[in-house]
């Protein structure tokens, strides 16, 4: 027994630990260390387009030179993660009216401070990149563990905003999301950051989104063009090809400038102040008819039950995919296995996350991702949610009907799903 104490494990513990270190290093290098910070190419979309081309030439629809050409155009117009640039030479739209290069530089680059001005830099990589990825592709290292997945900015679609229907958000909308986070998801609140740092991040998110959308459109342009032809051939310059690329960039920028803020009809219904003003009272006698009207709209004209279900548990339409995911699945196929075939065969190897169907919100939980103010709920119903099946009801419902629905939806968490009609009559009044 005493001999055991002379075991080298006891006398030279340090040396054994040293042996482990190289092993850790090797494993880290092989699996986890991504090395230099570069924008990832949208290989998933290239694969998607290759499948869409079909026929014999589908596998080599795009040549290596074409892909490099697209990457070079992107680098020439938008720069790198360390040094963002803005596309110049556009005739129709001045990009500097949308994006501020000074703010972009604060959000870009490695985490640290500017050596001269001592301004904080690298905000995006410090706060966002681990989920949303350096490229803004929603494929950061932690993305795979999250449900819902982090947003992929490259589609240029954002859900929670106060602008019209499927238009882009404005900077206030993005700022609100940064400040308040998104309840029910992994997106936290960044209200502890100074306002100017959040402003810089908003700017950078728009930059990544514009860049990603332009990348997709350039790949579309390749797919529509001739086999093997470069978009912008440095050896064979032509006005037509340069105009085509500029049009793509300007179209994307246009969508960010053509934004219409929706003014919610400020004329609230007469009953609003009494029933829902400071403290909603779903049990009062006057609330009864409003809730009945709301329930009728929910099941009837507004069509909410199509997806959210008769019980509002969000269980009626569970096989849809949102706009970010639907490209990865073959929705026409009858079985789940065959729906996922394109993903398993191809997109998986390019880093795409496993597709999940989009779940309609369970309205009994009282968790509203886009904000729980009546105004937020009004917008979700009136304008729909961009990128999802939630539609625009502006032409179907009157403002009064939408407010009625808002009140009804607000009451749902306090009503028993199993006996909705009687639950209200039980007078669940507040104790005092």
């Amino acid at each position: 027994m005493m001999k055991m104490s002379t075991d080298p494990r006891q006398t030279e513990p340090r040396r054994r630990w040293c042996l482990l270190l190289p092993l850790v290093a090797v494993m880290l290098c092989s699996g986890c260390w991504t090395g230099s910070t570069e924008f990832q190419f949208n290989w998933v979309y290239v694969a998607y387009q290759e499948r869409a081309v079909g026929g014999e030439d589908s596998s080599d629809a795009f040549s290596e030179a074409q892909i490099r050409n697209v990457a070079e155009i992107l680098a020439a117009t938008f720069g790198t993660p360390d040094k963002p640039q803005l596309p110049g030479g556009l005739e129709e739209i001045d990009v500097r009216e949308l994006l501020d290069l000074y703010k972009l530089n604060r959000a870009a680059g490695p985490v640290g401070r500017d050596p001269i001005s001592q301004d904080v830099r690298g905000l995006y990589r410090q706060h966002c990149a681990h989920c949303h990825g350096v490229t803004g592709d929603g494929m950061g290292p932690t993305a795979t563990f999250l449900n819902p997945y982090p947003r992929d900015y490259r589609r240029g679609m954002f859900k929670f905003k106060l602008t019209r229907s499927t238009q882009k958000p404005n900077k206030h909308d993005l700022h609100r999301i940064l400040k308040q986070g998104i309840p029910g998801t992994a997106m936290p609140s960044f209200s502890l950051l100074p306002q100017d740092e959040r402003d810089a991040l908003v700017e950078y998110v728009i930059y990544l989104s514009v860049r990603g959308e332009v990348e997709r459109e350039l790949i579309n342009l390749l797919a529509a063009g001739e086999q093997g032809q470069l978009l912008l051939d440095p050896a064979n310059k032509s006005a037509a090809s340069s105009a085509a690329v500029k049009e793509v960039i300007q179209n994307v920028l246009f969508s960010w400038t053509d934004i219409q803020q929706i003014a919610v009809d400020s004329k609230m219904p007469d009953w609003w102040d009494e029933l829902a003003g400071s403290q909603p009272d779903f049990g009062s006698a006057t609330a009864g008819p409003v809730l009945d009207a709301g329930r009728a709209l929910f099941a009837g004209k507004a069509g909410c039950i199509t997806c959210h279900g008769g019980t509002a548990l969000g269980d009626a339409q569970v096989s849809n995919y949102d706009k970010w995911t639907e490209e990865l699945v073959d929705a026409k196929q009858p079985t789940l296995e065959r729906k996922l075939l394109p993903y398993n065969e191809s997109y998986q190897q390019f880093g795409a996350l496993p597709p999940r169907p989009i779940r309609p919100r369970n309205l009994r939980q009282g968790v509203y991702r886009g904000g729980r103010r009546p105004l937020d709920l009004y917008h979700r119903i009136s304008q729909g949610i961009n990128g999802t099946p939630m539609p625009n009801q502006e032409q179907t419902l009157t403002p009064e009907e939408i407010w009625t629905l808002v009140f009804y939806v607000q009451s749902l968490p306090y009503e028993h799903a199993s006996r909705p009609a009687t639950a209200r009559n039980l007078q669940r009044r507040r104790p005092n």
Binding site: G31, Q40, T166, A239
Partner: protein
């Protein structure tokens, strides 16, 4: 005793440390081996040269000005038929309705319209539209647009609108001008959720709730970059294709494969794009018995003469639809 205890403690602590290290390594490596797509190496010289061209416009680019040709002010008619050749295609898997069956599957399962061919080979739902090379068609110019187009109603309603019945989009392929306004109609007794979020270019993206037996109004405002898919959020099998053009020279083939583009301007080089949702890149067609090779569906046509009535028989081989029948 105390020495032994502490040794045992330290040894078990060591084992615990080693174990947790191994476990964390396993976690770390398993979590991170997810394939990453990777960046593409861009050559610095390429990037610099492209940036200079872009910002300043190099001499070579500036010298090639885009010129719009001048038509004579007279007009011709283009008619024709799309025919599928090369034997009978395989059978398409039927679509399966899984919801609102009393309305959507009242007459059996909804039709699969990925390729619609009549008994004579006539192909429906082929879109043909002018897409000239090297210039853009001016809009609202009397030399380009016949009076009929200039005075055409801008509101597409009723039969000219976009209807859905029995959970099928009546117009499976639909084309319109960006200056027009469209009535989206629901003739069903269930609500539909007409989704135009996939619109391309600057065309307005929308996703409408259309209550049963009612309509909504859609204004595309701008032309789209290419045809795009329209779906229904409530009924996942429903699909149609839209294209929004700024000029009026387009047509969608009818059930027998016939199409008509009225009042084509004369005396200018025109090419037409032929598009079908299920076709591969169209590289070869037979036009009036002669084989023509084209780039991705772009068909060049000889200049039209005043009053000419051109009739084209365009044959598309079934091999162009290989991806449908895998």
């Amino acid at each position: 005793m105390t020495g032994q205890t502490s040794r045992r403690v330290s040894r078990s602590a060591q084992a615990l440390l080693l174990g947790s290290l191994a476990a964390s390594l396993l976690l770390v490596t398993s979590g991170c081996t997810r394939a990453m797509p990777g960046a593409v190496d861009a050559s610095t010289t390429g990037v610099t040269s492209l940036r200079q061209d872009f910002e300043l416009g190099s001499a070579a680019v500036a010298s090639v000005e885009q010129t719009v040709p001048e038509p004579t002010g007279e007009f011709a008619q283009l008619r024709g038929q799309f025919v599928l050749t090369g034997g009978a295609p395989g059978t398409l898997a039927p679509l399966s309705a899984d919801k609102d069956l009393q309305v959507c599957a009242a007459d059996g399962s909804p039709p699969n319209e990925a390729l619609v061919v009549d008994s004579n080979g006539g192909m429906a739902n082929v879109l043909i539209y002018a897409d000239p090379q090297g210039y853009k068609i001016p809009i609202g110019d009397a030399k380009w647009e016949h009076e009929e187009y200039l005075q055409a109603p801008t509101m597409l309603t009723g039969l000219a609108g976009f209807d859905q019945k029995n959970c099928v989009f009546i117009s499976h392929v639909f084309a319109m001008r960006s200056s027009q306004t469209l009535e989206i109609i629901n003739s069903d007794t269930v609500g539909h959720n007409t989704d135009l979020q996939g619109a391309t270019g600057r065309t307005a993206r929308e996703n409408y709730q259309v209550a049963s037996n009612s309509t909504v109004i859609y204004q595309p405002k701008n032309k789209s970059a290419r045809p795009f898919k329209v779906t229904c959020g409530a009924h996942s099998w429903m699909a149609a294709y839209f294209h929004v053009l700024d000029h009026p020279f387009f047509a969608v083939s009818k059930a027998d494969g016939s199409f008509e583009v009225k009042h084509v301007p004369c005396g200018v080089p025109l090419s037409f794009r032929i598009w079908h949702e299920s076709a591969n890149k169209l590289a070869k067609l037979t036009v009036d018995g002669k084989e023509v090779s084209l780039s991705n569906g772009r068909l060049d046509l000889a200049e039209f003469q005043a009053g000419e009535e051109r009739v084209l028989k365009i044959e598309i081989d079934v091999s162009n639809f290989s991806k449908l029948f895998n």
